[in-house]
Symmetry: C2
Subunit: 261 residues, 2 copies
């Protein structure tokens, strides 16, 4: 297990290895040529950046049976379970790092909600792979918060502002290699109060199945990310709230909500 | 008017200025710091690359009234016109350059179709701009072919493989600055036979309106692209066919269809 962060220090953004409260700066990229430098900083002294700017930003819309059942009950509709792993997308403009602020747009409604998600970060080009081999192409894992405005999600023809307004996609704090998704638990806290807890791998279609399916038609590139969906029924969040998403072995992604103007 | 291409020569990909059948290599990027080099090549001797790898790849789904009416008639459904400019997305894995091959997936159906589209390429960061000023943020214009598999488009929960399978997004041949979309015409030819011709700007919501709307919520970055939708009723294309999309002042985007394995 190795922890790779991307960080800003003295106006330079680069990758670093995190160990024992220190960040060692690295020249290059984690899934390509790289070598550690002699520069090391206390973790607390650097600003973490999003761990990668993905060439393609894949995201699974609905992937947990309980989430589908409970969201349908809330909307007073029948639950509709996906019959196959049709992947979706999110947009890079919305990405923010650990500890950066989620800006709730001024005209967003009350149903402004977090979604805590496991994120696979790819390290190798991947095309037409079997589900048995699919996880070999994952470099490591991070955490995503798929913040969503439910009114716009329902009314707009696409998910553009409901899910991709600036700052609505916190990702981080860093990437951890060598983890087993089957042993992860996702815990979500709002202002320190636990609001959701679920087995991360309790998915309708697991990460390996998604990768195998997508790679039949689409070449997945190093640096691409795949967000794996969320479970449970997210609560509303409002300016002043702090959302923490913790996944076993990765860490905690923490972001405060502030009011947009 | 300046014509910027991105090209490969001797295993290096860089930008170039096209003039009089020559490409002059340029260090840097068109919308950032750059300077021409002393290297020049005959245009015919270089391989054109996609003119940009966009950080965010915006695409308008339906934006021409005739296209909506005629597609609805073909499907025997009522036409549904968009009430507001809700933007969508496409994925970078699918991008190919001028003269590269569109690979029709082996299991794709007969309704495999071109869509000829005007593409705005952004040169400046853009947030919360008015429609009056919106086009100031467009660096130049190129052409896109939003190749679509209609069966998957109808059946899948998202547009992932219907529109984003590898090679389904030809873009190019280059970017031309200083053009007025109001004076453009789009002409589409399959194997040299004209299949569609329409006023490029005959949109339900024009480019400036889309930019102003998107920029209320999303920061558009330099290098982002926005594909503006298509008119008419596209025809099926099959392996062996060559599709040309010509837009006044930009040029011709040409791609051959080959069979996937």
């Amino acid at each position: 297990m190795t922890t790779w962060c991307r960080f800003e220090k003295d106006n330079v953004t680069r990758y670093g290895l995190v160990e024992g409260g220190q960040v060692t700066a690295v020249d290059g990229i984690p899934w390509g040529e790289h070598k550690p430098t002699s520069l090391a900083y206390p973790l607390a002294s650097v600003k973490l950046a999003i761990p990668v700017v993905p060439p393609t930003f894949y995201c699974v819309g609905i992937n947990y049976a309980d989430h589908i059942r409970e969201m349908a009950a809330k909307r007073k509709t029948e639950p509709v379970f996906p019959k196959k792993p049709d992947i979706g997308y999110r947009a890079n403009n919305a990405l923010i790092a650990h500890e950066e602020n989620i800006v709730k747009p001024a005209d967003a409604g009350e149903a402004f909600q977090y979604e805590g998600e496991l994120v696979a970060v790819f390290g190798k080009r991947c095309r037409n792979v079997s589900s048995e081999n699919a996880l070999d192409y994952v470099f490591g894992w991070t955490i995503g918060n798929d913040v969503s405005e439910r009114g716009w999600q329902k009314e707009d023809r696409t998910l553009w502002r409901a899910k991709n307004a600036d700052t609505l996609k916190p990702m981080g704090p860093w990437i951890v290699t060598g983890l087993d998704p089957a042993k992860m638990e996702t815990v979500i806290r709002v202002n320190g109060r636990e609001t959701d807890r679920f087995a991360t791998n309790n998915m309708i279609f697991d990460t390996a199945t998604y990768i195998a399916t997508v790679s039949k038609y689409c070449t997945i590139e190093p640096g691409d990310v795949m967000w794996m969906g969320t479970d449970g029924v997210p609560e509303n969040i409002k300016p002043g709230d702090t959302v923490e998403i913790e996944i076993t072995g990765i860490g905690v992604l923490r972001n405060k909500v502030v009011a947009g103007t």
